[in-house]
Amino acid sequence: MSIVKPCLDALRITFRHLGRKPSTVMHPFQPRTRAARWRQTFALVHDEHGEEACIGCKKCEKICPSEVITVVMAKKRESPATGQKRGWADDFTLDLTACIVCELCVQVCPVDAIVMCRAPTPPGGAREDLFLTMARLYTNEHALPRAPITGTSLIASHSPAEDVAQ
């Protein structure tokens, strides 16, 4: 007979919910606030000298779980701005159709070249819209507001400057 009390409890709980306000937000009719950390599509950015920041190290390509990033590495050559030798990417594509938006590419980037954006609308409706070519990724840099999270800030937060004694 121990089943009677849980049954009554269950009935009480569902009855109590009858009087509560539904938690549904009627989205297209009602404005919905987005969290400050909300972000969706990607952008490639330029560094402080106005050069393409990506050094073509392929770390993002290797870590990507759904293997949607393709980076074509170029030969190292001198940077026109600083005169130092550095790596470059010849091509960089990101296929959003299979992207799971795990942001690992952003987290692993040593030079903060790839970032996520706070786009106000979904990145696209057609299949072609969801394939981010290098040109589109660089267009996104200025076209869309940028999320504050970058690879180096995340790497820094995960590895404190000094080891803490256990």
Partner: protein, 334 residues
Amino acid sequence: MPFPHDPILHALGLGVVLASALLGVTSYFIWFERRFAGRMQGRVGPKHVGWEGLLQPVADAFKLLLKEDIVPRAADKPLFHLAPLLAVFVALLGLAVVPLASGLVIADLDVGVLFFLAAGAMTVLPTWIAGWASNNKYALIGGMRAVAQSVAYGVPMVFGALVPVIFAGSMNLSEIVAAQAGGHWFLWWPPGPGFLAGGIFLMASLAEGNRIPFDIPEAESELVSGVSTEYTGMKFGMFYLAEYVHSLVGSALFVTLFLGGPDGPGPDAMALQVVWFALKTMAVATFILWIRWTFVRLRSDQLMTLCWKWLLPAGLVVLMVAAVWARFVPGGAA
């Protein structure tokens, strides 16, 4: 009498009017259930088609009518087409003996309770026909489950319904209603047996109608959609409708047997009686919804355990207590 004195014409006219009214009520009952369930789950439910979603049943009916009617190549076609029609017919059948007010009954049978129980037991027929004729393993398993369940739960349902019959000394539903006049409803008078019998009857009638938490013939998480797996469009819609009609007619019989039928305060006018009857039926139907949206589905063996090991012995004991009460307590039986 609102209809001609010829009994057949009277029954036919009243039958058509009541069946149409019931079908209309059922479609809005489905809307009500969806809003009700929505609130219980912190959702809103349908509210965009028409004012507060009131045109949703119409939209649903149009959607179902416009869908492609698929008949599996290997189906037993005559039976496949027959099952949904029979489902609605059998579900409506029970309405024939339920008195909505004194004198307002399609067929005032002396074996009304027996007729209703027989009609209720027949719901297994369209379900099994659909399960067999679909030629689909899930439908077949669903059909077999429905048979096992209906055969089992028919027995405690009879015991539950027999208690008011003993107290009223009649199987005529009008006389059962008359015996409860003045608020002596069998659910609480005599105290004890009527209440238990009502509980047993309600549970068993939920199980007969294959409603949650006894919906193992449909069990969508294990059997796709059970017996209605192969049905599309309006044929599926008819099964859906039949389930709700059965639930409403079952509530109406519960009201008649245990809640005094059209008995209620106020002058003895037919219109008021119908209102009382409708209000009570909706209250019972809402209680069934509350149960439905609270509990999870029972496993097959738990279902059988509940029936054969709990409801059936409990029904027998309640029946015996009722019989003793009716025989030995002065004024215990009408």
